[in-house]
Symmetry: C2
Amino acid sequence: MGSLKLPTSAFSSIIPIRSFFHRHQHRHLCLSLKPSSASTPKTSIPPSPKEKSVSNNDQKSKPEGTITPRSQDFNAWYLDVIRHAELADYGPVRGTMVIRPYAYAIWEAIQDYLNVKFKETGHSNMYFPQLIPYSFIEKEASHVEGFSPELAVVTIGGGKELEEKLVVRPTSETIVNHMFTQWIDSYRDLPLMVNQWVNVTRWEMRTKPFLRTLEFLWQEGHTAHATPEEAEKEALQMIDVYVKFAHEQAAVPVIVGRKSKVETFAGATRTYTIEAMMGDKKALQAGTSHNLGQNFSIAFGTKFTDESGQKQHVWQTSWAISTRFVGGIIMTHGDDAGLMLPPKLAPIQVVIVPIWKKSEEKANVLEAAVSVEKVLKASGIKVKLDDSDQRTPGWKFNFWEMKGVPIRIEIGPRDVSSGTLVVSRRDVPGKQGKVFGISMEPSILESYVKDKLDEIQSSLLEKAESFRDSNIVDVNSYDELKVAISQGKWARGPWSASETEELKVKEETGATIRCFPFEQPQGAKTCLMTGNPAEEVAIFAKSY
Amino acid sequence: MGSLKLPTSAFSSIIPIRSFFHRHQHRHLCLSLKPSSASTPKTSIPPSPKEKSVSNNDQKSKPEGTITPRSQDFNAWYLDVIRHAELADYGPVRGTMVIRPYAYAIWEAIQDYLNVKFKETGHSNMYFPQLIPYSFIEKEASHVEGFSPELAVVTIGGGKELEEKLVVRPTSETIVNHMFTQWIDSYRDLPLMVNQWVNVTRWEMRTKPFLRTLEFLWQEGHTAHATPEEAEKEALQMIDVYVKFAHEQAAVPVIVGRKSKVETFAGATRTYTIEAMMGDKKALQAGTSHNLGQNFSIAFGTKFTDESGQKQHVWQTSWAISTRFVGGIIMTHGDDAGLMLPPKLAPIQVVIVPIWKKSEEKANVLEAAVSVEKVLKASGIKVKLDDSDQRTPGWKFNFWEMKGVPIRIEIGPRDVSSGTLVVSRRDVPGKQGKVFGISMEPSILESYVKDKLDEIQSSLLEKAESFRDSNIVDVNSYDELKVAISQGKWARGPWSASETEELKVKEETGATIRCFPFEQPQGAKTCLMTGNPAEEVAIFAKSY
């Protein structure tokens, strides 16, 4: 369950409470390496209507509000997008996060997809309590080592000091095994395959919205099997579900592979991971699947009677994807105009902006807009008609671009006369992304919009893939690795060196082994560090 | 948010950890008023296949395992059903509960229905952090009084003593208002209407699975409005959503009304409630909707500028339904054979049990069963084919009755020859509920099963309604009230007495005012306690 368990990169910043409500303060406190905000060029973007309201008479075509250009300061840009697209706010407790409706709807789309896949692959949802006796955490040696520094501990209940301290779930392997031990008796009870969608709490010192917060939401799958082969197959099956989700739904290309021993989840024998390249080229561990072997079943005595009547410890897996993935989507696709959402996960796939100048035009334009909305809604497209009087079309264009809506439809008086409309793609800026004269005829419009959404979905994936591939450098020596990392790129090279050397790379370059990718080049390999034979290439990168 | 805030009835029992895995121990420890378990007659029911497996050669038509008859010991029956239908287990921490897949699927069905209704009525889902600064809880005077005795408090984070203690969310009004204060500026930001599906923690001393646990799952809606009228309308709208849910989905008839001041949620100006009568005639508060007035907005400074430019505090509501409702469904419909689920919330609506004796019959019977399964699945019915070799048909009948599946289809060799099957209703025991010779022809079968499911759904509601109505007694004096309560019934009578007298009733009879029902008898009324004029009748009952 290590999706937020990455070693903290040297480039992470400490974000004080409510910092992204106070951008200048935040810059000052956290990003002292950056140029002062006074000299920062800004892209004009609108504030949220909820944050600042204008009166009916105060229409503006260029609304106030600014967003830092992505190329200039990726971290500031990320926080600006989160604020202006109304994705999240910090909670009152340091490092906690309020997930606002727009981002929560993205999370719901993620849940909807994965829930179907989990059930198709034989898993049932259920719920384990979040309060875990402290002693449970101590039962598996590497687990306690990994998690004890970041536990939130309940010591008072109902006004009284508790006899045994309770841990607020940082992950659930321990309590799951406590229960599995009661439910599993014979091989006929296996495989036991469950999942839960819950909150987890980890006392992180360096936090960043979505990527690393004191509390986050995730699903955690837990399974028990009769053989090591079945457990391995399950761990691989679930990482494959995540790969497909990332590619097909989020348009986030990922490299799937195995973690090094150093980076393996505390308590697992093997961790599989999907690693994505963000817009600043840093890696994001976006989902993990662990083969737990018998580590927890031995610690908790989870045994079954096999077909030959012998008692054996079960073989287990666990796997998780969290709200961190929402951060990954922002940082993969977003641009200087704000968020850019893959159509399959977008809460709003199409926004309709009606345009009129004279009041006598209004009725006709709105009537056409409403009928277009109905047509699209009926065909299952998530559509929003922004017919508010309080904002100009220009303001609305900017606002919905900030929100990352894949397609904008514009309808003006001339369009109404000709029975056509204008379609703009969020992912292709300016006139290039704009097509005039699309027919309003329902069947034509519906198939045009659906095709366009598919095209955008594929295009986002392709663009992210080519960005990633052009930023991975094949290296054959430590010097080449250092150059690649210092350029902010990912380095891929043969590796068979020791853990000590792996930690040395981290110390000297800030990069870690993200994974040994499943996809390996053919031929003999020589370890980039030692010159010894190597069986695999590894990918090194700085990461979130 | 008081769905688990009921005053603890004198008849609640303290259930030790894992007690319903150890029934005898439990009896001994908790229910000392009951006859010893040795003399307890038992209804034969099967153990769960996960709990006890039999070998292939060990087929039994009358499986071991027992369930206490409902009429004999309602509490023991309830715990037996929860265990044998695999609904829940206690977690390792006293009073916490593991919700097993079958019960969780009921909860998911509840979520699916309510989510649609919440969105239709203009609410968005989102997520607020669960860790709340202790000082927040103290800001609203009656809120702190109500909740401080049952808080779980985090005092250690990341290995260090915290400067300010943190409360694990018992309900979220305080943190919601902290955020609303940042989001609300003008009347244009109103109404603000959100909901979250989360876990909450309350340090209850007397716990019982589903009904009252240290941690439970719920949804909590939170809204802010510009006028008291709008807030009142919203509070009423949401209690109405709950009424419809209870009646139409859960087949649980409820009486909707207003709580007395004494029973109003800590921090609300008015609490609306739905009250259901359980099989033992005790009342269950099954959902609440609160008009919070300006109590929290004053405490947290949640203001908006109204249309005339004046600053005003917002008017708020909150409303909740929890996993407690699953307990309500068990205790409304269940019988001596176990759980009985309303078709609309049943994870499995139809179970198919194929029956054969000679191995040459097996192939034909299974083929027919599979094709019936396909037909029903294709028409959207939740169907399960129990084709396991390890259990006899008789065992399966008992098992799926225990699980409360509304319809059982039996298919034997003779049925296959005649192209028919047998349909048994869970809610009509024995031969009376069994219809032979139903055609397997897809369109006939589909419409027959759908009609039957509708019939069962209505029949469960009617049965529960008539049970309830026959157990509510109209009373006109305190003596009549005492008689009714001592008979275990609900008493309905005119009430305009003081809080002191309300508390006296509780002390002397164990009954509380469940609500002043919306539906009131016509005509002049005289307070049953004081003889003074009364405007309303109240309902008194013992409750969970």
